[in-house]
Amino acid sequence: MATRLSINEIRYIIDGVEQDFRTDGRAAEDYRHVELESRVLPNTNGSARCKLGKTEVLVGIKAEVVDVDVHAPHIGKLVITADCSAVASPKFVGKGSEALENDLTNILSFIYHSTETLPLKELCILPGKSCWQLNVDVLFVQCGGNLFDVASIALKAALHNTTLPKVRVSGEGIEMEMEVADDPYHVWKLDVSNWPICITLYQIGCSFAVDPSEEEVACSEGYVHVGVLPSGDVSSMEKSGAGNIDPTVLLEMVEVGVRVGEDIHNQLDKQLEAEKSLAKL
């Protein structure tokens, strides 16, 4: 994944970003063409495949009934695991991808761990006893820059089509029993209208850009992940990578991140609504 660039190529790329005209003709705020496909894995509760430039991500969500967390007895759980497939690069065979996978898992878990923004209350079955745990597995089939954003778009799409079996709760007090429906059409869907998307802004030279290609990532120093909600609010923020970011530039970055995030939410929601009319469930 590490690209080798000459000094002149690096200079060319940095100059391009600073002048708002990148090597592929995009402006600093432009995303590449996004391809999204839903319900690609029939034996999962929800799935999506997202392709952005050279990056391709497959998200599969499987749900299981587990005991609640003692510290949070009224909400469900969301466990995100990132995985770099050996198919993406020979370096990822065996333990080669561990560092990158840990990084991806931590950042994605961080974006999606806020209990105030996520409707995890919906996932609770028996308060204090059982809840749904959504195991989200993010598989990177191809890595070509901007891994976090693609993963979060695919995640939102996968959550949108996740179906959970209805659970019938009967009895009272300690005698409470639950029965998970067997019928594959007796299901309910989550409300994803308030789930965030991660927008990553990379500092390149004196300026910054979204959705960089691999070569642009190699020229960047430091990047900021902003979790943007559809309403335009910021749910989480984290700075990663080596490099210093000026505080005024940081404020600009967040502003741009929010703008781009809202736009992506709009487009994504439109497509997901259109998809609803196609599906029977």
Partner: protein, 204 residues
């Protein structure tokens, strides 16, 4: 329905100098399931005995099919990842690897087509899915080079009565021949596409 990604790497210099062979290339294969691939979710896909065994099986299969003498002292890597497992994953893995090697331009002696079968109430069922596999009837897998009809790989799990053996082998080989037709069609499609870029019309 099972879905598999197969990718190949190489031929490149042998990573492990002791395994290097002066006359031919060696093949190294890595096979695993994605976390959401199995019916019951497996948390982390570490190399367990079963997946290592399948990796070795694929390696042996292709050592018979690839013209290894063309690449002495080199190594060819094959990575197979099961995205969705619904029965017959080993067969799909072999078929996918054949296509990947052809796509890469690695010289093969012949296609390698694999098919799985079982016997249920005296009739042979081809291409069994997960539900049919869990019935615990005989699980017969065959990998065949269709032109010469030579068997490259054969695996049988559970018990199969000797009376059924002949029938099962014949029908499975026919199944493999049918798969060859499909693989061939795909290869011809690729060839036409690739040639179109050079404005050549190949005779297929």
């Amino acid at each position: 329905s099972s879905g598999i990604n197969a990718e190949y790497g190489g031929p490149h210099e042998c990573a492990n100098r002791t395994a290097r062979n002066h006359e031919r290339a060696i093949i190294s294969c890595s096979y695993n399931f994605a976390s959401f691939g199995a019916a019951v979710r497996k948390k982390k896909m570490t190399a367990d005995k079963k997946t290592t065994e399948v990796g070795v099986m694929i390696q042996n299969t292709f050592e018979a099919a690839v013209m290894l003498e063309k690449f002495p002292k080199s190594q060819i890597d094959i990575y197979v990842q099961v995205l969705q497992g619904d029965g017959g994953e080993r067969c799909v893995a072999i078929n996918a690897t054949t296509l990947a090697l052809i796509n890469a331009g690695i010289p093969l002696k012949d296609y390698v087509c694999a098919c799985a079968a079982t016997v249920f109430q005296d009739s042979v069922l081809l291409d069994i899915n997960n539900l049919e596999e869990s019935y615990r009837g005989p699980l017969f897998m065959l990998a065949v080079m269709p032109q010469t009809e030579s068997i490259v790989q054969l695996q049988l799990d559970h018990r199969l009565h000797n009376d059924h053996l002949d029938k099962v082998v014949r029908e499975t080989i026919q199944g493999c021949r049918d798969i060859k037709v499909l693989l061939d069609r795909q290869v011809k499609e690729w060839t036409v596409e690739a040639a179109a870029a050079y404005e050549i019309k190949p005779r297929v």
